[in-house]
């Protein structure tokens, strides 16, 4: 098995930044190392020198490399109790708003965005909502935009949906064809997909809720703080911030201004 050295990682990261503008230097190192080892063996590079040469010279390959460095694992209604809390505790407080803006930061292939659209539809709020879905990776966004997922996943997703408090027949939200499930256009119509890099890009709107689940774990503390400040600038008073099951506002400068909702990783901005 190949094992990249820490000095070699530094070389690759400075190449990526200098030649292509991707800054991974504040990504959590242990995980990044695994990702690089993984792509090294998947793509069967005989040596580090050859991996590096390919990266420096092949602008097509860079897309694949960046996609493999970032983790794009996601599912619909992941942590059903989280979605239940959105249904019961969060959406009712947004109902009185004339317009609802939600940002999914680091949305990957979009499964969580479609989950949210279904919740909004069931709460009768979808028609006045806009879901901004961003990722640094254009290819996963292209996939998200299509609203297509493997049919084999639907059993799990429909179980998650029911556990999240869903009462409808989940299959009414998609049409099945050729081993794929395509979600209703009605859901996708309220979504805007765009590239956005949390490392380098700025705030672009004010939102009623920001969801960024299982993205911060891949960043070091300094970058986590930068991204949380970016979210803070993008949230109005009484808006919500939702993070992944093992992520927290503790030890961040936001802690004092946000009140946690019972049990789930959802905070409301109170100051």
């Amino acid at each position: 098995m190949v094992m990249i050295e820490d000095e070699q990682i530094d070389l690759l990261l400075s190449d990526l930044f200098e030649l292509y503008g991707y800054d991974f230097t504040h990504y959590a190192r242990a995980s990044l190392k695994r990702r690089i080892n993984r792509v090294w063996s998947l793509d069967k590079f005989p040596s580090f020198a050859e991996l590096r040469y390919r990266l420096r010279t092949d602008t097509e390959y860079i897309k694949r490399f960046v996609e493999e460095l970032t983790v794009n694992v996601t599912e619909m209604f992941r942590d059903p109790s989280f979605y239940k809390s959105l249904r019961l505790d969060v959406l009712p407080t947004l109902a009185a708003k004339p317009f609802i803006r939600i940002w999914h930061a680091g949305c990957s292939t979009g499964e969580e965005v479609f989950s949210m659209a279904i919740l909004l539809k069931e709460a009768g709020l979808l028609h006045k909502s806009l879901l901004y879905a961003t990722d640094l990776n254009p290819d996963v966004l292209a996939s998200a935009r299509k609203g297509i997922v493997a049919l084999s996943q639907m059993k799990q997703y429909s179980e998650n949906y029911l556990l999240s408090g869903g009462k409808a027949d989940f299959s009414m939200y998609y049409t099945a064809q050729y081993g794929y499930a395509k979600f209703l256009d009605e859901l996708a119509e309220r979504m805007v997909f765009s590239t956005h890099n949390l490392v380098s890009d700025r705030s672009f709107n004010e939102f009623d809720m920001i969801l960024c689940r299982n993205v911060l774990i891949y960043f070091d503390k300094a970058l986590q703080q930068r991204v949380l400040s970016l979210f803070d600038e993008s949230l109005g008073l009484l808006s919500y911030l939702a993070l992944g099951a093992k992520e927290t506002l503790r030890f961040s400068s936001l802690e004092a201004k946000y009140r946690p909702l019972n049990g789930e990783k959802i905070w409301r901005k109170i100051a």
């Binding site: 098995m1 959590a28 190192r29 242990a30 995980s31 190392k33 695994r34 990702r35 983790v71 694992v73 942590d79 109790s81 299982n214 911060l216 774990i217 891949y218 503390k221 986590q224 992944g244 099951a245 093992k246 992520e247 927290t248």
Partner: protein
Amino acid sequence: MAEDSLNSAPKAVVIGGSTGSIDVLLQVLPTLTPPLTYVCIIVLHRRNTADSTLAHLFSLKTTIPVREVDDKEPIQPGIIYLAPADYHVLIEHDRTFALDDSEKVHYSRPSIDVTFESAADVFGSSLVGILLSGANADGTAGLKAIKRRGGMLVIQQPETAQATMMPQQAILNTQVDYILDIKEIGTLLNNLNL
């Protein structure tokens, strides 16, 4: 005794297990003498519900603090850390935990290999890897990584394991230092305590 084969005092013990391993730990934990002088990290295959009942169950069996790993948490000796459901646990060189929800390894997240390999990277020859009962090939690659860095390998005796595949795979494919029954694993963990 066992610790003689370590190049230096143990800094960390990583324990991996699957089917049948919770019972082993429920027997071993009450025999441990606190305080622990080393870091102890347990990675078990479990259902991916995000509850922490397992940590609670273990904490009933020992006065040593048992805690589910949080992202970026500094690693301290004297605590038994448990990998949370649905995340891989990695270790940074600054001795903090890093969580990762990337692809499953051997159909498992948390994966034993992922934590063992990462711990080997950081703790080197002062690491002890212990693999318990399980019906899965996870753990063997991780043990190899620990051995490459000069750490010590301990396997639960397959005859005492509810599921033998995991320990047997490891015995066949790695240079094991000790093959121990459940009681001996407890004794070893106490002997590593300096």
